[in-house]
């Protein structure tokens, strides 16, 4: 297995997971700071255990699917997933959707938890918030790892990319003890949307029997085409500013 094949897989899994883990971390941190670390870690731990159960239950089933069919199905799902992500990223960049703000998310979650502080079940509700955040973001990470890794037997390396993202966020998060607002999430989402869409077209094409020129290197020109279009679209569809003629 060459680095030209592994690098896009590991990078896509790492960057996509980084975005998801940062979002989950913000909620878990809000729970930890507001209600204490017991509900935060309990909720997160149960969600992680459930994610492991999901992977162990469904992972082996993938090995039973013929490779071409698997590439086609995974590619199709990646196209739907990637285009949705890319659309949002372009609209954010063009000013039609508000940029994602971890500090605002943290404040919103903290306020919600404080509003529940008087309730008898406050710790349970806080733990549930952490559970929900980790489970929902985790499901996306699991899908990304399976989607970018399975079609070429690189699930282990995609998993390593995701694990690196988790460890990085935990290390930095524990060190700064604040929401990770410095992470350029919106730019990352743009790049991840491009990568996932590119993988989607690549796998679906392979699933149909296409032999892309340059094999795995074809991902680069597919990515370049999506990137050129997306950057142009972000500019073309830019929301006009008040009082500024387009």
């Amino acid at each position: 297995m060459t680095w030209t094949a592994l690098l896009p897989t590991i990078t896509a899994a790492f960057l996509a997971s980084l975005v998801e883990v940062v979002e989950a971390f913000t909620i878990v941190l809000a729970v930890g700071v507001t209600r204490g670390w017991r509900p935060a870690l309990t909720g997160s731990g149960i969600a992680l255990a459930l994610l492991v159960l999901i992977v162990l239950s469904f992972g082996p089933l993938l090995a039973l699917i013929p490779i071409r069919a698997l590439q086609f199905v995974v590619g199709t799902l990646l196209i739907l997933f990637g285009l949705r992500w890319l659309r949002k990223a372009i609209l954010r960049s063009a000013g039609w959707i508000a940029l994602h703000d971890e500090a605002a998310e943290f404040a919103k979650e903290t306020n919600a938890l404080k509003a529940q502080a008087a309730e008898r079940r406050a710790d349970f509700l806080a733990g549930t918030a952490a559970f929900k955040a980790v489970l929902l973001e985790g499901v996306e990470v699991v899908f990304i790892v399976i989607a970018v890794g399975t079609a070429h037997g690189q699930t282990f390396w995609a998993g390593m990319g995701a694990l690196a993202a988790v460890l990085l966020v935990l290390l930095v998060g524990i060190a700064v003890h604040k929401p990770l607002v410095q992470v350029p999430e919106n730019t990352l989402k743009f790049v991840v949307g491009l990568m996932l869409s590119s993988f989607g077209v690549f796998w679906t094409g392979e699933g149909l029997g296409a032999e892309w020129p340059g094999a795995d290197l074809a991902l680069i020109w597919i990515f370049a085409l999506f990137a050129m279009f997306s950057l142009g679209a972000a500019r073309y569809f830019a929301k006009p500013q008040m009082g500024v003629a387009r």
């Binding site: 949705r84 039609w96 489970l135 296409a210 569809f237």
Partner: protein, 69 residues
């Protein structure tokens, strides 16, 4: 069961945001698959059509959103 529904909703939400975009992309993939597997279209040409088609449906989706405001 509430959690199962939550996970299901999240799974669906992962792929469908603009319903028309998801539908058009799915139809595009289906048409290309039928042309390649059923009508003998060159698979590489099918892949290129798929790539360009994805760009087009994405552009259409962006146009719809920005027109609606």
């Amino acid at each position: 069961m509430t959690w199962l529904k939550l996970v299901w909703d999240e799974l669906l939400g992962m792929f469908v945001d603009d319903g028309a975009l998801a539908l058009q992309a799915a139809v595009l993939i289906a048409i290309v698959a039928v042309c390649v597997k059923g009508l003998g279209l060159n698979p590489l040409l099918g892949g290129i059509v798929l790539l360009l088609g994805c760009v087009v449906v994405l552009g259409l989706s962006l146009g719809r959103k920005t027109r609606k405001g």
